[in-house]
Amino acid sequence: KVLKMAAINHNSISELHPKLLYLFQKVIGIIIGKTDIKGFPDRKIITLFERSFSFTDSPDFFINVSAWGSDGYINRLCSSFSIGDVVIIENPLVTTKDLEKEERFCPTTPSPYRLMLAEAHSQMCLCVDVDTSDSLLPLIHMPVKDSRDFYPLGDIVANGKSLDGSFINILAAVKAIGEMKLFRKSDGCQGQRMEVKLFDELVSSFPLIWWVSYFVFYLLVINFDSFRNGMTAAVNSKTIITVNPGKRVTASFHQSITSITAVYTVGQLKEKSQESPETSHGITYSFISKLDLDSCVSKVIRTRWYAHSGRTGWVTHCNNFFSSITGFDLMMNLTDHTGTLHACTLRSPVAEAMLGCTTEQFTHLTDNERTAMKWKFLLERCKTYVKVQLLFTFRLKDSVQTHIINVCGNFCFRSSLPPGQRVGCGQWSWPAHWLTRAR
């Protein structure tokens, strides 16, 4: 691979240096992000447009590239290349990063430089060498940030206002994509706004505001703009989205499921939470001893309303100052021979997977059907992945807060969920030794 790359005779991005300015330089890399087109009508007599994108050729290095030129040139460039394309850039201008400007509008790169594409001097074209392309393609699934440097959605909610306005990394799965809504930007251009619902193992639905310009609404360039009350994430030009990040990362996302291997009794989980204030994860094979599926729907499905503060400019453009998320919000008790964990929270999407129906479908069930559904689970033994933490140290009784991360059981029911959503729940075989394990 190395030989082939060398044969094409190009530099690696990390080798680029402003002092090599007069030498012919050529880099090959993959586009991992794109920003909006910016027009600068008052600077020159001719309107100049800038178009930036991020570009990488190795797992731990990437650089921002700005293209400057006329409307036509930039639009041509913009329509010919998209994220995931392997491109060759010839003769770019290597300049030292203007930290203030770069950091404000473009993704923060590890490189001290940025590349400029000038209409007259530089060239950018698709790489047609299949081997080179293939070797670079996996980079699209590699996050540009340290794979551990992210906030679980639950941590964002927990941090609340203290995270307001900060730029952070999120690792989450997409649950739903909302409708595109039109609005007019301050410069008079049309813009579009879209809400994407994210989820991870603890937060069932977390709104991410996807704010896209009229021209480039198809782009995957977003930015985590600010967090209002730790409850929404918004979009601007600093973000790079890595779709289906590689094993290394998803491993940490699924950490709560796959890395949880320790089996505990309810009593041991309670002890564990008393011993240390840190949250602990574990598996328990216990009975569901309470599940209020047949109480009124408002106790089973909850809608939470989040207010946008309107502090950030673009929010003022939309009339919608509130957004809501609806999901299951159930309490259940888990019991085994050592005791009961009370009021464990079971929320979407785990609840959907366990119950085998969506909130929408659930609301259409009759009372009898809901009671029947309850008895499919009640007093059955389940393999439950839980996160426990001590809530109030001053209370003597049951100060343990338990979140259900996943439930597996031998429930016999037909799931009405589409196959894609039937995640999480599964059959389990009961390890006969779990109860007698010495600890």
Binding site: K270, F287, S289, N333, T338, L378, L379, H433
Partner: protein, 140 residues
Amino acid sequence: FVEQKSVPKKAPFDNSLRILTAVIDGMKHWSQFKDKVMCFFEIFATLDSAVTIGRHGAKNFLLRDGKEVVQCLFYEHEQELPRLIRGQVYRCVGNYDRVRDVLVCMSIRAAKPSEVRNAQEAIKACDTHMRKLVRLLHEA
């Protein structure tokens, strides 16, 4: 003057509900501590009678494991009693009433082979745990 010794902090006794997997004999034995240790029982046993209708519409039947037999009651409040076949092994979770010597069943269904296989381990673990607990109760 009595020197105060620092008493090691004793974990408060957890008297939350327990569900014990047991044989019928074990269930009857452990239920004597019910006033201190609230518990339901999970038993695996064979239906050894026809299902009849008793007082207040409760369904009555007998469950047996080995030589031990327990009279069972099932109230059809929320769900109907499923069709039970005499001679088959059932998994039953209920509350044992010591005074009346009946097991008030809350959940009953055919036992799965894997559950029956694992039941012995579960029973052993529950017995060990309860023995420890009872010792603790006597010390206190």
